[in-house]
Each structure stands twice: as structure tokens, then as C-alpha cells.
């Protein structure tokens, strides 16, 4: 009998090919939509963590209060000792110190007069250290557009867009005009080693990267950093793990009455990201949920239409002596095969396209030119373990549900009524 049913299924395209196509399309769209949302959310968290918040960040308590002003007069002293201790105690994390600073970058002409000048958002990283974790955190080589990475003291990197705006090229000498952590004017000369494009609008607009030691010297911040950021080595943010780490650190080292004592916060505790993550997760689930529900209704309707279209066949089979229960079970079995075939095809196709978007992405840079969020220009999808099931089960479930309801509708009619409709 199974051969008989499968033959019918394969030969009748409107009973197999089109329903399978419909399930495939629904599952495919669900998988791609889910993957794209996961990718965008993941990229946002990842970019924000790398460039700004870390998975955890240590500053002084006072800095934390005024973080949006980058108050280097409240920076964290004894940075090297704290880093050494962290690297020893929390070996499964990457730790690095950074200085954030603002100022003006002056590009002189041949006579030494100002040719161009622009405000900069400076970030000092350990660019020259042989074991610097920044090399694995910041994709500097990938982001390099012109020139080379700093090889010696006094060399800086500047964003390509900013360099173009200033008319500066690698090899040019530039002057940073800022203030020391004690409030005095700081003036330091640097050589542009290379230009970078991070693919993140907020960084590409006016960012310069300076070696940490150079910045400490220029800003009079000996053994001092604005912040120490920590990342789990697998670069996956775990809210629970980081919260535990922060609580442990603060319990040991942070003193409430001392505004200069170090204080560790997690990624979620910065810039309202915790609420954002919850909100984004909820929105993602709602959008995917609505999509899955709509798909289920479409597939249910398809099952119903398919069942109704086969009224004639059902009537004949009942007349031949096939039991209603048995016929019902075969209809559900057919829908299961259709659901499985469509779900496998839709999931495979969806994963393939999601994977393509994971590596190539969609460029929304022109829409984000004024954004100050750490949003990448290229939005990428992400294949997660959930991608394999998010469309698969609704695809199978909706197909079977459609057949179940269609069958009930059909079998509620008297057999004789079916026969009459069959004859008409």
C-alpha cells in the first residue's frame, strides 16, 4: 500500500510538487529571516564589545560616572600591575588596557603651517607589543587600506575616510593637540603609518589609533589607562559568566568609598545594552513567531485545499471499502512526507543562503552615514544551531496540521454525501 501511496504522490504534481514547493518557500524564508536577525544582533554585540565595551570593562568608579566625557583625569592608575594580576588570575580571558581621548589632528604643509585640521576620537591600544591581544580583537590587517601597521613608536593609524577629508597620506607627519590627564595642553607629533576602514561608520568617521605607550607619553598618563577591557577567549559573550566575574572582581578590589578604586562592569551593564539585548531578542522572537504563524496558516490552507481537491478520490476509496480511519492516516502520512521533503529542502536552501550572507553580507553603509552606533556597514546573517530547526518543525507541523483539519472537515460529512458530491 505504501508503494501505491508514494506512486500517487509522485505522479500527482499538484499533490506533491506544489505543496512541497510551498513548504520549501515558507521554511526557506523563516530560516533566512531568523539567520539574518541573529547575524545583525550578533554583529551589533560583537562590534560594540570589540570597539567599546569589551565583554567586561574596568574603569575607576569616578570614570564610570562620567564615561561619556572621557574624563582621563579620573583614569585608572597602576594599569600594568592590574593587568598582570588579571592575566594571572583570569587566564581564560584576554585582557588589555586602552586610553580614549579626544583632540584635534593638525596636518601641516611644507612650511609647517596648518593645511588641514579635524577633531578626532582617539583610541590608544597596545599596537606594538609582541603578545598584544589587540591583534586578535581588532582586525587591523583586514582593515588596512593604505600604508602599513605601526612598526615603531610615533606611528599611528588613521581612518581612510578621515585621511581623505584631511588630504593626508601614509608617511605624512601630523600633530595631535589634546590635553593631559592633569588638564595641561598636550601636543605630540606622529607619523601616519597607514589608513584603515573598519566598516563601522562611527569609527570610520574620525578615528585615529595610537600605540598605548605613545598615548601615555603624549597625554602624561604614565602607567595609566582609561579602561581595561576583557574578552572571553572564544569571543562569545556569556551574560552569566561575565556577571559572575564582575561580581567577584568588585568584591575583591572595589571599595565603595574610594572613587578611584577599580570597578568592573559587563557588556550588558554599559550604554543600556542589557535592555537592548532583551528588547532585540524579544523583537526577533516576535517577528519570527509572526512569520512562522503566517506560514503555518498558509500551509494549513494548502493542506485543506489539497484535501478538498481529492474529494473524488476519497469518495471512491471509501466506496471500495477503505476505512475512514485508515484513509485519514494515509492522508496524514502523505502530508508528513510533503512536510519533511519541503522542510529538508527549505532548511537546506535557507542555510545555504544564510551562510552566503554570513560571508558576504548586505552593505547598508550609505544608510548609516550619520550613525554613532557601533553598527557595521555590512549586515551579515549568522547560521546558528537553531537555524536547523526554526523552520523545519513548523514546516512539518503546519503540513500535518493542514491535513488533520482537512481530513476532519471531509470525514465529518456523511459517506453518502461524499458520494453525491463525487457524482456531481
Amino acid at each position: 500500500m505504501i508503494t501505491f501511496v508514494l506512486k500517487g504522490l509522485l505522479r500527482d504534481r499538484s499533490r506533491s510538487f506544489f505543496p512541497v514547493l510551498m513548504v520549501t518557500a515558507g521554511v526557506f524564508l523563516t530560516v533566512v529571516l531568523y539567520g539574518f536577525m541573529q547575524g545583525v544582533l550578533g554583529d551589533l554585540v560583537s562590534s560594540t564589545a570589540k570597539y567599546d565595551t569589551g565583554h567586561v570593562k574596568i574603569t575607576t568608579r569616578a570614570w564610570r560616572e562620567l564615561a561619556d566625557q572621557t574624563p582621563n583625569d579620573l583614569a585608572l592608575m597602576n594599569g600594568d600591575a592590574i593587568l598582570a594580576q588579571l592575566r594571572q588570575q583570569e587566564g581564560d580571558m584576554l585582557w588589555t588596557g586602552r586610553i580614549r581621548f579626544g583632540g584635534l589632528l593638525d596636518v601641516p604643509d611644507a612650511e609647517g603651517e596648518t593645511r588641514a585640521q579635524g577633531p578626532v576620537a582617539g583610541l590608544a591600544l597596545d599596537l606594538l607589543g609582541s603578545d598584544s591581544p589587540e591583534k586578535s580583537i581588532f582586525p587591523l590587517e583586514d582593515a588596512l587600506v593604505r600604508g602599513h601597521l605601526p612598526r615603531e613608536k610615533g606611528e599611528i593609524l588613521i581612518s581612510e575616510a578621515f585621511a581623505k577629508g584631511l588630504g593626508a597620506t601614509p608617511g605624512d607627519r601630523v600633530t595631535l593637540i589634546g590635553s593631559t590627564m592633569y588638564g595641561a595642553m598636550a601636543i605630540a607629533n606622529f607619523t601616519i603609518a597607514g589608513t584603515l576602514s573598519f566598516g563601522v561608520v562611527a569609527l570610520d568617521r574620525g578615528m585615529i589609533l595610537v600605540d598605548l605607550r605613545d598615548a601615555q607619553a603624549a597625554l602624561d598618563m604614565e602607567d595609566t589607562v582609561s579602561e581595561i577591557v576583557g574578552f572571553s577567549r572564544d569571543m562569545v559573550y556569556s551574560k552569566k559568566k561575565m556577571a559572575s566575574l564582575a561580581a567577584d572582581f568588585n568584591g575583591k578590589f572595589s571599595r565603595g568609598e574610594d572613587e578611584f578604586s577599580p570597578f568592573m562592569v559587563t557588556l550588558g551593564q554599559q550604554n543600556g545594552l542589557e535592555e537592548y539585548l532583551i528588547y532585540a531578542d524579544s523583537m526577533g522572537l516576535i517577528i519570527v513567531g509572526i512569520f512562522v504563524a503566517a506560514m503555518s496558516i498558509v500551509l494549513w490552507n494548502s493542506g485543506l485545499m489539497n484535501g478538498l481537491r481529492r474529494y473524488g478520490e476519497i469518495g471512491v476509496r471509501l466506496a471500495m471499502g477503505e476505512g475512514k480511519g485508515r484513509l485519514y492516516r494515509w492522508m496524514v502520512f502523505e502530508s508528513l512526507i510533503i512536510g519533511l521533503a519541503g522542510s529538508v529542502a527549505g532548511t537546506a536552501l535557507g542555510i545555504a543562503v544564510t551562510r552566503y550572507l554570513q560571508y558576504n553580507g548586505l552593505d547598508f553603509g550609505s544608510l548609516l552615514s550619520q550613525s554613532s552606533l557601533m553598527l557595521p556597514n555590512v549586515f551579515r546573517a549568522q547560521v546558528t544551531p537553531a537555524s536547523y530547526v526554526i523552520g523545519f518543525f513548523p514546516g512539518v507541523f503546519a503540513s500535518v496540521l493542514g491535513a488533520l483539519f482537512a481530513g476532519i472537515g471531509i470525514f465529518r460529512r456523511q459517506t453518502a454525501q461524499l458520494m453525491k458530491e463525487l457524482e456531481s
Binding site: F4, K7, E313, A319, M320, G321, G323, R326, T415, E423
Partner: protein, 237 residues
């Protein structure tokens, strides 16, 4: 021995707030091997009676016994089993399963009986030979003429050798020649296999072959006429 008996059979359908009586106190009895027909105008209750005898419908009142089973007391499963094992149906519109070949259409009732493949093959080939369609075994219904389709339907009805075949307007969609061929075939089956045939028809061509005519008007039997009797005294052709 009677293989079909109806006693005070009444069938009512709800219409609005009242009921429409399709069959009114029908008392009939059919013996094995009969070649009988329910005749009468449209709406007289022929198909309703045929459906009840075929356990596709149940009576509102009275009793119907088919091959020793009380139709009114049958569960759906038992009714399906009765149809599966003992009754063959032939429809006006053939109702062949369009995606299956002639062979597979005829084979279908045997699949429901869970018969061995070799036995199925033998019986299907036998039935196709009976109706003269051996050369069309791999054709689809869409490739057949009306007459050929109805012959396939006959083969499908007889392949399991049922005691009773119910035929609802079997020649209504056929021309004279095809009607003649089909009816001759049914007469032959009735003779050789002793299969009981019960028709619902108002086709004059069919009526000529019937050995017993039961005229229904407004759900009542107004005439029960035996035209010819077989060697055993029953109304067979």
C-alpha cells in the same frame, strides 16, 4: 436465500426545520444471482436506496440486511469491511483514480484486502482479460475512451469477486454501442460468476436487460416486476 432484505426502510433528510422523506417504508428482498434494477425518475430515491444497501448510508428507520449484516447496526469499520470484502461499485462517472494506471486502478480493492502480490497480479490480469483491456493495462484513465473507462470500472468492481455489485447509472455517459458492450459483459459476469447485480437507472438500454424492475416514485415502491427467471427461479438474465 435472500442476500439483501429491507423491512419498513425509511430514510429522511433534514430540510430546514422539517424533514424530506427520500425512502418511505420500503420492503424488498433480493436473492443471490439476481440482475435487478431500481428504476424511476430523478429524485425517486434510487441512489439513496443503493447507498444504504451499499452501507454508504444508514436508514432512519426500519432494517436493512445485506449478506447477513444489519446495515443500521454496522460501525464505520464494519461497513467498510462489508464493502471491501463483498460489494463492488460501478459509478456513472467511472471514478477511476486519475494518477494510477488501469492495472493499478483494478488492483486497488485487492490492496485493501491485503492480498499477496502474486495473487493480486493473477486476479487483476484475469479481470482485465474479462473486460478485454489487457493491452491497456499501463494506460492512464485520461488516455481511455468513456467505454474503456467504464470497462476498467467494471473490472475494478469484479476483481475481488464480490457477491454483490451495485451500479449507479452505469451507462448514462456512454453511447449505444459502449452501453451494449458493458451490459453484455455484466450479463456474462452474472451468468458465469453468479454475481448479484443491482442497478439504479432510468436508461432504457439498461432496462431491456433487467430481469427484475423495481419502480420507485417519491420514495415508494410502486411496482416490482419480475421479467425472467433463471434455472433456480430467481430474476437473473
Amino acid at each position: 436465500m435472500a442476500i439483501i432484505t429491507t423491512e419498513k426502510l425509511i430514510k429522511r433528510y433534514p430540510v430546514g426545520s422539517g424533514f424530506f422523506t427520500a425512502l418511505d417504508s420500503i420492503d424488498l428482498s433480493f436473492e443471490k444471482g439476481e440482475f435487478a434494477g431500481l428504476i424511476g425518475p430523478s429524485g425517486s430515491g434510487k441512489t439513496t436506496l443503493l447507498n444504504i444497501i451499499g452501507a454508504l448510508d444508514s436508514p432512519s428507520e426500519g432494517s436493512v440486511t445485506v449478506l447477513g449484516k444489519s446495515v443500521e447496526n454496522l460501525s464505520q469499520k464494519e461497513a467498510a469491511r462489508l464493502r471491501n470484502h463483498h460489494i463492488g461499485f460501478i459509478f456513472q462517472t467511472y471514478n477511476l483514480l486519475p494518477v494510477y494506471t488501469v492495472y493499478e486502478n483494478v488492483e486497488f480493492p485487492l490492496l485493501l484486502l491485503q492480498m499477496e502480490k502474486s495473487e493480486r497480479k493473477r486476479k487483476v490480469e484475469n479481470a482485465l482479460e474479462w473486460v478485454g483491456l489487457t493491452d491497456k493495462r499501463d494506460s492512464r484513465p485520461s488516455q481511455l475512451s468513456g467505454g474503456q473507462s467504464q470497462r476498467v470500472a467494471v473490472a475494478r468492481a469484479v476483481v475481488k469477486r464480490p457477491e454483490l455489485i451495485l451500479a449507479d447509472e452505469p451507462t448514462a455517459n456512454l453511447d449505444s454501442e459502449n452501453s451494449f458492450n458493458i451490459l453484455e459483459m455484466m450479463v456474462r459476469l452474472n451468468h458465469e460468476l453468479k454475481t448479484t447485480f443491482l442497478f439504479a437507472t432510468h436508461d432504457e438500454k439498461v432496462m431491456k436487460y433487467l430481469r427484475r424492475k423495481i419502480r420507485l416514485v417519491d420514495g415508494k415502491v410502486v411496482q416490482d416486476e419480475v421479467i425472467g427467471k433463471g434455472e433456480d427461479g430467481h430474476a437473473c438474465s
